[in-house]
C-alpha cells in the first residue's frame, strides 16, 4: 500500500516534491480573498448597485465613465501624474543614489535623511504641505514674498494644483528610489571603473558607459514601482486638494472614491475595473521592455 502511493505521486504532481493538497490552504485564501472579489466586481461593474440590490445595465457604467468630462479629466490627470512622478523619482533618485554612494562626509546621516519621508504617514505629509502651500499664509509663499516674489496659489490655481501634488509625491517617494539605486550602485564591481580610469575615461563617460547600463535592473524596478504607485495614487491628492479646485486635480482613484461616497457602487466598481485594465495595459509593455533590455546586456 505505501509503495503504491509513492509510485503514483510523481506522475500526478509532475516532479514537485510536495503533494498538491499542500497548496490548498494558500489556494483557498487566494480564491476567497482575491479571485472571488475580482470576478464579483467584474459582474457588479455591469450593474446599478446600492449594496442591497443590483440591476443589470450592461456597459452603461463604462459608457458614463467615458462620456463625462470630469471622469475623462481624471484619466488624463492620472497618466500625467504617474509619468511625471515616475520620471522625476528615477532621475532624482539616481542622482541622490550616486551622491550617497560617493565618499562624502556624514554619509550615514544623509542617507537617513533622504529615506526619512518614507517613514512619515502620507496623510500627515499631505496635510502639512497643504498648510505650507496656503496662498497667503503658507510658509512657502511667505518666504517667497520676503525675496520679492509673488508666489502662486500652489493648490488653488487649477493649472498648478496637480503638479504641486506631484512635487510632494516625488519628495515623499524619492527616498525609496534612492535606496534601491544605492543597492544597485554598490553591486557594480569597482574593477570596471578602475579599468575605465586607466583607459582615460572621463567621469561622464564612466557614468554613461558603466553606471547607467549596469544599474539598469534598479532603474527598471524604480520606474515600474513608481509608475504603478502613481497610477493608483490617492492619499496625497485627497488630503491636499480632494481633486480640486473643481475637478482640476482629480485622478481615477479620487473619482472612484467620490462615486463610491455618492453611493454609485456600480459606477465606482466600473472605475476600478478601468483602473485595473489601465495599469495592466500600461505596465506590461514597460516590464517586457525592461526585461528585454536586461537580456541584451
Amino acid at each position: 500500500m505505501p509503495t503504491a502511493q509513492i509510485e503514483k505521486k510523481p506522475r500526478k504532481t509532475s516532479g514537485s516534491p510536495y503533494p498538491l493538497w499542500f497548496f490548498l490552504p494558500a489556494g483557498v485564501i487566494y480564491g476567497v480573498l482575491f479571485l472571488v472579489p475580482t470576478f464579483a466586481s467584474l459582474y457588479f461593474s455591469l450593474t446599478r448597485w446600492n449594496l442591497f440590490n443590483s440591476t443589470f445595465i450592461g456597459f452603461e457604467n463604462f459608457l458614463s465613465f467615458v462620456q463625462e468630462p470630469f471622469l475623462i479629466k481624471g484619466l488624463i490627470n492620472t497618466v500625467i501624474f504617474a509619468v511625471s512622478t515616475a520620471l522625476l523619482k528615477t532621475i532624482i533618485g539616481l542622482a541622490l543614489g550616486i551622491l550617497l554612494t560617493s565618499n562624502i562626509r556624514m554619509r550615514g546621516l544623509l542617507r537617513t535623511i533622504a529615506f526619512f519621508p518614507i517613514l512619515v504617514s502620507t496623510i500627515g505629509i499631505g496635510i502639512t504641505f497643504a498648510v505650507m502651500m496656503h496662498p497667503t499664509r503658507g510658509i512657502i509663499n511667505v518666504s517667497l514674498e520676503l525675496i520679492g516674489i509673488d508666489g502662486p496659489g500652489w493648490l488653488t490655481d487649477p493649472t498648478l494644483a496637480l503638479y504641486s501634488v506631484a512635487f510632494v509625491e516625488v519628495w515623499r517617494g524619492v527616498g525609496l528610489a534612492s535606496v534601491i539605486f544605492i543597492a544597485g550602485l554598490v553591486s557594480i564591481p569597482r574593477d570596471y571603473y578602475e579599468a575605465a580610469r586607466i583607459d582615460g575615461a572621463t567621469k561622464w563617460q564612466q557614468f554613461k558607459r558603466i553606471t547607467l547600463p549596469l544599474v539598469q535592473p534598479a532603474t527598471a524596478t524604480v520606474m515600474i514601482l513608481s509608475f504603478v504607485y502613481g497610477l493608483r495614487s490617492f492619499e496625497l491628492i485627497w488630503t491636499m486638494t480632494k481633486g480640486g479646485p473643481g475637478f482640476s486635480s482629480d485622478v481615477i482613484a479620487s473619482v472612484i472614491y467620490k462615486q463610491y461616497q455618492a453611493g454609485f457602487y456600480g459606477l465606482s466598481t466600473a472605475g476600478n475595473v478601468i483602473l485595473f485594465i489601465l495599469i495592466a495595459v500600461m505596465v506590461m509593455p514597460l516590464v517586457a521592455y525592461f526585461n528585454r533590455r536586461e537580456v541584451d546586456l
Binding site: 449594496l51 458614463s64 481633486g243 473643481g246 467620490k258
Partner: protein, 425 residues
C-alpha cells in the same frame, strides 16, 4: 517579569468586572457627526436622559461629516453594523439611504405627534415617517457684518441688484465684500442652493418638473440664476484673496472680525460663531438671498438632521425612549441653554428666549405671519447630484462659466436619479 504579568492579570480582571457591571443596564450606541456644537448639545441631552432613565446609558460614537460620513452611514446600514440610534440628514440624502429597507418607522409612536408637519415631510418615505428633528429650522442666505454696514451707511438689500451695489461700495472702501471658503468645498454651494425661494417664485412647480426630468437647471432661466450669481460675485472681484484655500472656520473668522462684509451660509453657523467669537456675536446679522424682484423677498429654508433607528438595532424599545426625549420641550430647552437659540424649533410647544442674537432675530420674521419661506430643493426633490460642490467651486473661481456649470450639473443629477430608480430618467 512576574510583577508585570501580575499587573496585567489584575488589569484584565478589573476590566472584566467593570464590563459585567455595565452589562446590567442597556447601553444604547449613538452615531453622530463630529461638529462640536452637535456633540455639546447631545452630551447635555444625554446627561438629562440618563438621569431620568438610570437603566440606560447612551454611548456617543462620532463620524466625519460630508461625503465621507454619507459613506460610513450607507455602508454600516447595508452591513447591519449601524448603532442603535444615528443622526443623519433629512430630504434627498435621507431618501438615498433606502429608509423603507433599513429604518424603523416611528409613525405610530406617540412622540411623533409632537413634531411639526413641515419637518415630518422631509423624513417620510412611502407611508411612514422615520425621524425626529435634532435642532432648529435653518435659513440659507447671507450673513453680514453689522459694523461694516453701519460704517458705510448701507441698507440690507432685498434685490440682487442692491446686493451687488453694496458689494461694490464695500470693495471701493478697500474691504473684502464676500468671503468664500472653497477649501471646504461644500460651502461653495450656498449661492446656488439658497436661491431656491427665487426659483419657485418664478416657476412654482419646478421641483416636480425637475424630479420628472421635464425641467433642467441650464434651460430654466430662474434656476440658472443661482449659478450666474456665483459667477457675478467672482467676476466683480469681491472675494477674499485666499478664497480657494480658506476653510469654513476662516469664513466665520472673517465675518465675525469684519475682515469680510458678507458670507453666504446656513444659519446654523450662528452656533459656531457663538462658540468661537462670543464677543462678536452681536456684530453679525443675516438676510435671505435676494432675487431679482425686490417686492418678492423670501427665505430658502433647511430642515435639521434627524435621529433614526435602524432595523438592525437590538434595543429598539430603549431607542424609542431616547427619541421621545429628544422630541420633547425639555430637550429644546437644554439645547437653548447649551448653544443658544438658533432659529425656530420643530417640536410643538418649544419656545425661544426673548433675547436672541441679531442674526437669529433677523431670521425669525421670515417664519412669522407676513414672512415668506420655501423649502430648499433638496427637501422637495430626492435628486441632488454629488458633484455640485465641485462644480460650484469651478463656477465660483472662474474656471467654468455659469451655463457650462449648470449643464454639467444637470448631467451629474442623472446618475442620482437612475440610482434611485426614478421614472422617466
Amino acid at each position: 517579569m512576574t510583577i508585570r504579568l501580575n499587573k496585567l492579570l489584575l488589569g484584565t480582571t478589573a476590566a472584566g468586572l467593570i464590563a459585567t457591571a455595565a452589562a446590567a443596564e442597556t447601553e444604547l450606541t449613538f452615531l453622530v457627526d463630529v461638529a462640536p456644537d452637535t456633540i455639546a448639545v447631545f452630551e447635555a441631552i444625554i446627561d438629562a436622559f440618563e438621569a431620568q432613565n438610570p437603566d440606560i446609558t447612551v454611548e456617543i460614537e462620532t463620524r466625519p461629516s460630508g461625503g465621507e460620513g454619507d459613506n460610513i452611514v450607507k455602508t454600516r446600514l447595508a452591513t447591519g453594523e449601524m448603532t442603535d440610534v444615528f443622526l443623519y440628514n433629512t430630504g434627498s440624502l435621507f431618501q438615498a439611504i433606502n429608509p423603507e429597507n433599513f429604518l424603523v418607522p416611528i409613525t405610530d409612536q406617540p412622540y411623533a405627534d409632537n413634531i411639526i408637519d413641515s419637518f415630518l415631510q422631509t423624513v417620510t418615505a412611502g407611508e411612514n415617517v422615520y425621524g425626529v428633528p435634532t435642532s432648529t429650522a435653518m435659513g440659507g442666505g447671507i450673513f453680514y457684518n453689522i459694523p461694516i454696514y453701519e460704517q458705510l451707511g448701507l441698507e440690507v438689500p432685498t434685490s440682487w441688484e442692491a446686493f451687488m451695489a453694496n458689494n461694490q461700495a464695500i470693495k471701493d472702501a478697500g474691504m473684502v465684500a464676500v468671503a468664500q471658503t472653497y477649501r471646504d468645498t461644500w460651502t461653495s454651494q450656498l449661492f446656488v442652493l439658497s436661491d431656491y425661494y427665487n426659483i419657485q417664485a418664478d416657476v412654482p412647480d419646478f421641483a416636480e418638473l425637475y424630479t420628472m426630468n421635464e425641467a433642467k437647471i441650464a434651460t430654466t432661466p430662474a434656476a440658472l440664476r443661482g449659478f450666474e450669481k456665483l459667477q457675478e460675485v467672482y467676476e466683480g472681484g469681491f472675494l477674499n484673496e485666499d478664497f480657494g484655500a480658506a476653510t469654513f472656520d476662516d469664513g466665520l473668522r472673517m465675518l465675525a472680525n469684519g475682515e469680510a462684509a458678507h458670507y453666504p451660509m446656513l444659519t446654523f453657523a450662528v452656533g459656531a460663531i457663538q462658540a468661537t467669537y462670543p464677543e462678536r456675536l452681536n456684530d453679525v446679522g443675516f438676510f435671505a438671498q435676494p432675487g431679482d424682484d425686490a417686492d418678492n423677498n423670501g427665505l430658502t429654508v433647511w430642515m435639521p438632521s434627524g435621529l433614526y433607528i435602524p432595523q438592525s438595532s437590538e434595543n429598539q424599545e430603549e431607542a424609542h425612549k431616547f427619541l421621545a426625549f429628544v422630541a420633547s420641550v425639555e430637550a429644546c430647552d437644554i439645547q437653548t441653554a447649551t448653544i443658544g437659540a438658533q432659529g425656530p424649533y420643530l417640536i410643538k410647544g418649544c419656545t425661544l428666549p426673548d433675547e436672541v442674537p441679531p442674526a437669529v432675530a433677523d431670521l425669525l420674521p421670515y417664519f412669522q405671519d407676513g414672512g415668506q419661506t420655501a423649502p430648499a430643493l433638496e427637501f422637495l426633490s430626492p435628486i441632488k447630484g454629488p458633484a455640485l460642490e465641485q462644480i460650484t467651486v469651478e463656477v465660483g473661481s472662474g474656471i467654468r462659466n455659469a451655463l457650462d456649470g449648470a449643464e454639467l450639473y444637470d448631467n451629474d443629477v442623472r446618475k442620482q436619479a437612475q440610482q434611485l430608480g426614478l421614472p422617466n430618467w
